[in-house]
């Protein structure tokens, strides 16, 4: 994945207003509580990942040390510290999903996109990840793309979705 070095890291006015609203949820002096919600917004705004520049920007908003942001961002699995494709596919691989055929889904996507788990397609469209239990055990197997859950997957359903996303070419986002 190529990194756009000149990417401007700055929230627009509307986003900044949302961020300031979030900060106000917490008592005075406890603004750091807003860190995770703001990182989600920053990741969504700035190409689906958290570059050091993005994290430094968030640190400056909350008036905390950059390392405090790195520590937190690297702890949580939803934060991407490296660039990802426009469409981040996360397939659940824990117990119930495995029982119901999650591995077949992963293999199928690997073959279809010609990438391994953890890789991004050459066109930058798809990144494939496996994740731990997403609380969709009764509707297994499942995958998450952006904030959408896709459940009771069959290989045909996976094909349909991949084709649809490819045609749309949009970036998936959580928020």
């Amino acid at each position: 994945m190529e990194i756009d070095q000149k990417r401007e890291i700055r929230f627009n006015e509307e986003t900044m207003a949302t961020v300031q609203k979030i900060i106000k949820r917490y008592p005075e002096g406890r603004e750091k509580s807003a860190l995770i919600p703001i990182l989600h917004i920053a990741q969504a705004e700035f190409d689906g990942w958290l570059s050091p520049a993005t994290m430094d920007y968030v640190a400056s908003i909350l008036n905390i040390q950059p390392i405090e942001v790195y520590e937190v961002a690297s702890f949580y699995s939803m934060f991407n510290l490296n660039p990802v494709g426009k469409c981040l596919i996360e397939v659940c691989r824990t117990s119930s999903c495995w029982l119901m055929g999650a591995e077949d889904v992963v293999r199928h996507i690997e073959k279809k996109l010609n990438i391994h788990v953890g890789e991004t397609t050459a066109d930058g469209q798809f990144t494939l990840k496996t994740v731990e239990c997403l609380g969709s055990c009764g509707t297994a197997p499942m995958m998450q793309v952006g904030h959408e859950y896709h459940e009771n997957l069959t290989l045909e359903k996976v094909d349909e979705l991949l084709n649809k996303w490819k045609a749309e070419g949009k970036r998936s986002r959580y928020c």
Binding site: S77, M78, F79, T94, S96, L99, D104, E132, C133, C137
Partner: protein, 450 residues
């Protein structure tokens, strides 16, 4: 049909909206508590109800509430644990998605009882769309004056916020959750102090599971005694069970505690039996961390009594022959499933989710996963089984938080009850990779192992 206290109206169209929810009697508990009860009286009702924490630990909720320190001039907080991440568990997601106002109502009533002016719902980041549903419900509640200042003219003010996590099972541990809510890494705190004394921002805090808080609503509406009349023994009331795996009707079921396990698995009211009517092999009854039990022990206790869906009955026999109700994540495996491979997914899970703070869990979970991987690859030795046993024993009880135990128990129980399956993997070595061959010689169908 069992009694439904939480999911009674789940199929009513529009129940996720405030208007329909109120038509069905929604927010009555808030009105009743604020207008006719003292906070202490609400706590008493919850004590009388015998309600136990629905997140997994099963600690009596009323007692937890009564531990809350109340120093003058210090704010208190209620935090809802909606970080549902225990493999096999998806009941909170279902409840929040379908009836978001039930949780909001419980939050207000419980906050009144605890004297909390502010509450937070900490929901796992992956449930982002559910968080949006909650945000919408909260906005509706504010607009109707159910949140904010002077609710029902009682003088009680309350603000409730939704906070999303970002992918960390450990944040379901209450002190890790509080750390995360404070914008830090989800490292569990060393206790004491307990949150009841020093929780969020160092202030007295109660952390309760989604289902626990929702259960406060029927308890206040109908009285603690009515709630306690449902269920069996110290397992009072109803419980949401997330049923998954090789069953005909996976989903979330509200059961009266005390339903026989056999009925739960086979009756059409619940799971509807095993897929393709195959044979039941094993069940993980309360989420990934509780001991797995083979078919005979999950259906009947070691003494031959029918096993019931209750805290006590599932635990009957201790870990030698029993398990736990846990979070109610009920994973069913039929005869085609490999307990060894399923355990591998669990060891991988706990390795992935260890926060890394204390050494037994940080190092031990990864070690167990590697050995399981080796056994699955057909490179295992009999000694590896003993080593696994020894590692889990050295993790259990030695860690800062219960994640160590949660990682150890599935390993211990799988070896305890399915040792021969491990030995089979070891004995047959690499040929095990030829799964078809292996299983055809045993005369049972091919598993999903690839």
């Amino acid at each position: 049909m069992g009694k439904k206290l939480l999911l009674e109206h789940v199929d009513v169209p529009g129940i996720n909206t405030l208007s329909v929810y109120r038509q069905k009697g929604g927010y009555a508990s808030v009105e009743k508590a604020l207008k006719t009860m003292t906070p202490e009286a609400v706590v008493e009702e919850v004590k009388t109800s015998g309600l136990r924490g629905r997140g997994g630990a099963g600690f009596p909720t009323g007692m937890k509430w009564s531990f809350l320190a109340k120093p003058a001039g210090v704010p208190r907080y209620l935090v809802c644990n909606a970080d549902e991440s225990e493999p096999g568990t998806f009941k909170d997601r279902y409840l929040m998605e379908k009836i978001p106002h039930l949780l909001i109502e419980g939050m207000i009533t419980a906050s009144y009882a605890l004297g909390a002016r502010t509450s937070y719902i900490y929901i796992r980041g992956e449930y982002f769309y559910v968080a949006q549903i909650l945000e919408k419900a909260i906005a509706e509640a504010y607009e109707a004056g159910l949140l904010g200042k002077n609710i029902f003219n009682s003088g009680f003010d309350h603000d409730c916020y939704v906070q999303v996590g970002a992918g960390a099972y450990i944040c379901g541990e209450e002190t890790a959750l509080l750390e995360s809510l404070e914008g830090k890494r989800g490292n569990p705190r060393i206790k004491p102090p307990f949150p009841a004394v020093a929780g969020l921002y160092g202030c007295p805090t109660v952390v309760n599971n989604v289902e626990t808080i929702a259960a406060v609503v029927p308890i206040v509406n109908h009285g603690g005694a009515a709630y306690a009349a449902i269920g069996v023994g110290k397992s009072t009331g109803t419980k949401l069970i997330s049923a998954s795996g090789h069953i005909k009707k996976p989903g979330v079921y509200e059961i009266e505690l005390g339903v026989p396990v056999e009925e739960f698995i086979y009756s059409d009211e619940y799971c509807g039996g095993i897929i393709n009517d195959r044979k039941l092999k094993a069940v993980v009854a309360g989420g990934s961390s509780v001991p797995i039990l083979p078919a005979d022990l999950i259906l009947k206790t070691a003494a031959g009594e029918p096993r019931l869906m209750s805290y006590e009955s599932l635990a009957d026999g201790g870990f030698a022959s029993g398990t736990m109700l846990g979070s109610g994540g009920f994973i069913v495996m039929d005869e085609t499933a490999s307990v060894v491979k399923n355990l591998y997914t669990f060891t991988r899970f706990y390795h992935h989710e260890s926060c890394g703070q204390c050494s037994p869990c940080r190092e031990g979970t990864g070690w167990m996963e590697k050995i399981m991987h080796k056994i699955l690859d057909g490179d295992g030795t009999m000694n590896d089984i003993e080593l696994l046993w020894d590692i889990q024993a050295k993790i259990e009880g030695k860690t800062i938080c219960p994640l160590g135990d949660a990682a150890a128990w599935p390993v211990a129980s799988a070896i305890r009850h399915f040792r021969s399956e491990f030995e089979e993997y070891v004995r047959r070595g690499h040929s095990i990779k030829d799964v078809k061959h292996y299983y055809s010689t045993k005369g049972i169908p091919e598993p999903a192992y690839s």
